[in-house]
């Protein structure tokens, strides 16, 4: 056996579990159909196909998604730096601070211009 076996086994297990859950639920669950069951519950919206113009995300959340990406990237840069922080020393710290300053500028800009307001 070699090093790839655990990964393969894990993959098979994950896939198998997903398949098992779906199939077993279909087999063992009771099937009782009536019209009301297909209705949305009290607070729900009528389950009709969404017309064009509906069912879309408002564009304002784009900024949230964008901020996530920017800080995600900050994270993947921080990780190798953190691992190497002893060897990199002051030089690495200054380099990282310059980088972070730039991202803080982004953050300040977004904040000041209302990009982080929720409504």
């Amino acid at each position: 056996m070699n090093v790839y076996t655990p990964i393969l086994v894990l993959g098979i297990l994950a896939f198998g579990f997903a398949l098992f859950s779906v199939v077993v639920a279909g087999i063992t669950g009771p099937k009782r159909y009536n019209r009301a069951r297909l209705d949305a519950y009290e607070c729900g919206i009528q389950p009709t196909p969404q017309p064009m113009g509906g069912g879309r995300f408002p564009v304002k959340y784009y900024l949230v998604a964008m901020s996530f990406i920017i800080f995600d990237i900050e994270l993947v840069f921080l990780y190798p730096w953190a691992v190497m922080v002893d060897d990199l020393g002051l030089f690495g710290l200054v380099a990282m601070l310059v980088f972070l300053t730039n991202l803080i500028v982004v953050y300040a800009y977004e904040w000041a211009r209302g990009g982080l307001e929720w409504d």
Binding site: V59, Y62, M66, I69
Partner: protein
């Protein structure tokens, strides 16, 4: 297995992406095809890194991922904006720029 297989895979993916850019008309899908091309380049860089025994190729692939993320933010913002102006995201539709 022949190590060159990784490069063959990279070439196949790159070609699929390039063909997709030429065939598809939806701007978002075209952009996905470009992302596939970047991914294929990354695979080539990683394979060459291993071939040469240096980490330089991996570092390039890392930077390419970061660049791709920035490019995606800008590109999708442009596509969303044009969609809001025109309610459609097809490259060919009412194209004012044709002569």
């Amino acid at each position: 297995m022949n190590p060159t297989n990784y490069l063959v895979l990279s070439a196949i993916l790159f070609s699929i992406g390039a063909a997709g850019v030429l065939v598809r008309r939806n701007a978002i899908v075209v952009f996905m095809c470009i992302e596939l091309m970047l991914n294929a380049s990354n695979l080539a860089f990683v394979t060459f890194a291993r071939m040469n025994g240096t980490l330089d190729g991996q570092v390039v692939a890392f930077f390419v991922m970061v660049v791709a993320a920035a490019e995606v933010v800008v590109g999708l913002a442009i596509i969303v904006t044009i969609f809001r102006t025109r309610n459609s995201a097809s490259v060919d539709e009412p194209n004012l720029l044709r002569l």
